[in-house]
Amino acid sequence: MKLSSKRFVATKHFTQQENVAQKALRATRRLLLPALLPILLPAAFAGASQSAIAASLAYVSNEKDDTLSIIDLDSLEVVNTIEVGQRPRGITFNEDYTKLYICASDDDTVQVMDVASGQIIANLPSGEDPEQFALHPDGHRLYISNEDSSLVTVVDPQKSIVTAQIDVGVEPEGMGVSPDGKIVVNTSETTSMLHWINTETNELFHNTKVDQRPRHVEFSKDGKQLWASAEIGGTVSVIDVDSKEELHKLRFEIRGVHRDKVQPVGVKLSSDGRYAFVALGPANHVAVVDAKTYEVLDYLLVGRRVWHMAFSPDEKYLLTTNGISGDVSVVDVDKLKVIKSIKVGRYPWGLAIKP
């Protein structure tokens, strides 16, 4: 099975260098490939589907390859690569993991992938240039950042209709839903604000100015705190959700790395409330933070330009996407050690985990 999957990756790699004349062929193949593959590579597919039952899978969007890499979380190997729309960035599963939503930014759509077959079954009206999104717990509201048009678009993915559009600042990006589903927070990178959206009315009820270029927000599991990274500011603000006041501002210092290159993007909080992990972009490290005292405990060296992260379902592993080195680092959460890096496509961006 390992061999076959390598063959698949090799074929895919070849197509990146093809000439124009081959593009027509490729288009045909793109249509036929998913259908033909089970016939061509029966062993590979049988293996993949078996392991899909057995193991959790990590889906990784490759921004400059227009593909998803699928990593088996038992073997920590890439088991499949799927072609999707142009410039895939944010990805997330629906609640029963039967569908994967994919921001295909350059296609101006959110694609819906049927997870069982790996086929794109619908394109949602997402507004222009969807980059990142969050799915409301009710499964009916997808809050999408339209990076090029200063809007948050709310889409019902089941009815495929736009239910609201909300004016926010320039270059909306990060999106987080509170655990109770009452609040969605969006970050606007150039305006450097957190925009608080009331999910009942889909209107803004507060705006919080943070440091330069906020990229990502993460609610704590109890919904009382919001962690917001500021990429150019080099900080993470921990905000009290009730009062909107800043409880703490995290700063990072890595020996041998200029402070301007420490650029926090992704934030993940362990559900036991113990750790916060902060991806530091071109500093190529993930900071481990004590989520109670806000003390930075350690910096873990990962691949180049680390942006987004996700936990395995048991939170034994933390995976990171490293855009420039084109790989995913695997952190052992108990030992706080990087145990593996897995080569994926070009510019891995988003991550979603299927138990």
Binding site: D148, S192, H206, T208, K209, E231, G233, D260
Partner: protein
């Protein structure tokens, strides 16, 4: 920081409308408790309840000299479109703070027209003005209105950053020295240490050549030969025969061209006696901005600009955009929109601007120059960005580009 603290200087000026109240929520209430703490020297309350932040844009338009390489003329609204985009970006955030940024524009081929516009704006109480003009014009305008904070978005003069220190002017356009230092670092990194310098005879070409000589000395390159281009043949027809002879000197690793308006430089490429890279104002070019920059989120800025202006964003557009955004970021961080307060904040330690160049941008407090990485581009790709790795500086590596504090007589922060 939450909005409640930010909101104070804004709310004092207006009767809160219900729409705003809804947007701002509880923040507005806290703000109204502090109405009398601020003086209202510079800002104007408007009928719509927003505070107007009025910024001026002055441009001395210039006739293009006759050029040999005139295939792609510079855009007519070079710089102006950047200011307009900066205003739009400011307003996109300003609407959540009750701020309404407005741009007053005056462009002319005659300095007196600009002076008249400035006189009118002074009477209206304007606090900051962008100037897209050569150094002499900038000097005239800045001395006419010492109480206004100017942003130089049009002159790369090194003199403005070292000797003729205009205390009410900040520079968002990189100086010539920053450009040639960026280039020199790259050349040294590539071990291209021996240069042939070819300069045009216009004033700007000579100043660019001065900057190249300074950079060579600073980073340890050697000028094997220097030549001035004085020929009058039409190189579009004869480059292949003329240029090889002209560049037949002691052997060099690279040819550095100083031809700011783009007269003959384009024809040096691929025609040199030794097959060597051509760099400088043509070939591999150091610049504050170019369409090929797409990293660090720049793709979004580029596409916003494309949509607005229907053309590529230039270094002058970027300088004007950065000036507008500097003002916008200060005002949204609770700095009173008043020239002196703005200047001291921009030169102080708390200011930082995200400018799509991979790291935060700040101002040098001695000469008011915006610190920034410099892109090295060819017309279809970004080749590199300086400062190059390994060029270190005790404060920030960005200060390895251009005039460091000790090399400048200016001290704007006093």
């Amino acid at each position: 920081m939450t909005l409640s603290t930010l909101q104070a200087p804004v709310e004092r000026l207006r009767t809160a409308r219900s729409g705003w109240r809804r947007l701002l929520g509880t923040a507005g209430i806290a703000c109204c408790l502090l109405p009398s703490l601020f003086s209202v020297a510079s800002s104007q309350a408007q009928d719509n309840g927003k505070q107007a932040i009025v910024i001026g844009y002055l441009e001395l338009q210039q006739e293009q000299p006759p050029l040999l390489s005139n295939v792609l003329p510079p855009p007519e609204d070079n710089g102006l479109q950047g200011a307009r985009l900066g205003m739009a970006d400011n307003n996109a955030g300003g609407k959540f703070l009750g701020l309404d940024y407005q741009l007053k524009e005056a462009r002319s081929y005659e300095l007196p027209d600009l002076q008249a516009a400035l006189t009118q704006w002074q009477a209206d109480g304007i606090q900051s003005v962008l100037v897209n003009a050569p150094a002499a014009t900038l000097q005239a305008l800045s001395s006419q209105a010492p109480d206004i904070l100017f942003f130089n978005v049009g002159s790369n003069s090194d003199q403005l950053r070292t000797e003729s220190c205009l205390t009410n002017v900040l520079h968002t356009l990189p100086s010539r020295a920053m450009l040639t230092d960026a280039l020199a670092q790259w050349l040294m990194k590539k071990r291209l240490k021996k240069w042939l310098l070819i300069s045009g005879s216009r004033e700007g070409d000579q100043r660019y050549a001065d900057a190249v000589r300074r950079s060579a000395k600073r980073f340890g390159a050697k000028l094997e030969a220097e030549k001035e281009w004085t020929f009058d043949s039409d190189l579009r027809r004869s480059a292949q025969t003329e240029v090889p002879l002209f560049t037949q000197t002691k052997e060099y690793d690279a040819v550095v061209v100083a031809d700011e308006p783009g007269d003959f430089g384009e024809f040096i490429l691929y025609n040199t006696w030794y097959p060597r890279p051509v760099v400088g104002t043509q070939g591999l070019t150091p610049t504050g901005w170019h369409r090929v920059i797409e990293q660090w989120g720049a793709a979004q800025l580029q596409s916003r600009f494309d949509r607005q202006a229907d053309r590529w964003m230039t270094d002058k557009d970027y300088a004007a955009w950065a000036a507008m955004r500097s003002i916008g970021e200060s005002v949204s961080h609770n700095i009173d929109y008043q020239a002196a307060a703005l200047k001291s904040h921009l030169l102080g330690p708390k200011f930082e601007l995200a400018g799509f160049k991979g790291r935060k941008l700040t101002y040098r407090n001695w000469n008011g120059q915006l610190r920034q990485p410099i892109a090295l581009i060819h017309p279809r790709a970004l080749v590199s960005q300086s400062p190059q790795e390994g060029y270190l500086h005790p404060t920030t590596e960005l200060d390895t580009l251009g005039f460091d504090q000790r090399e400048s007589q200016c001290n704007l922060s006093q």
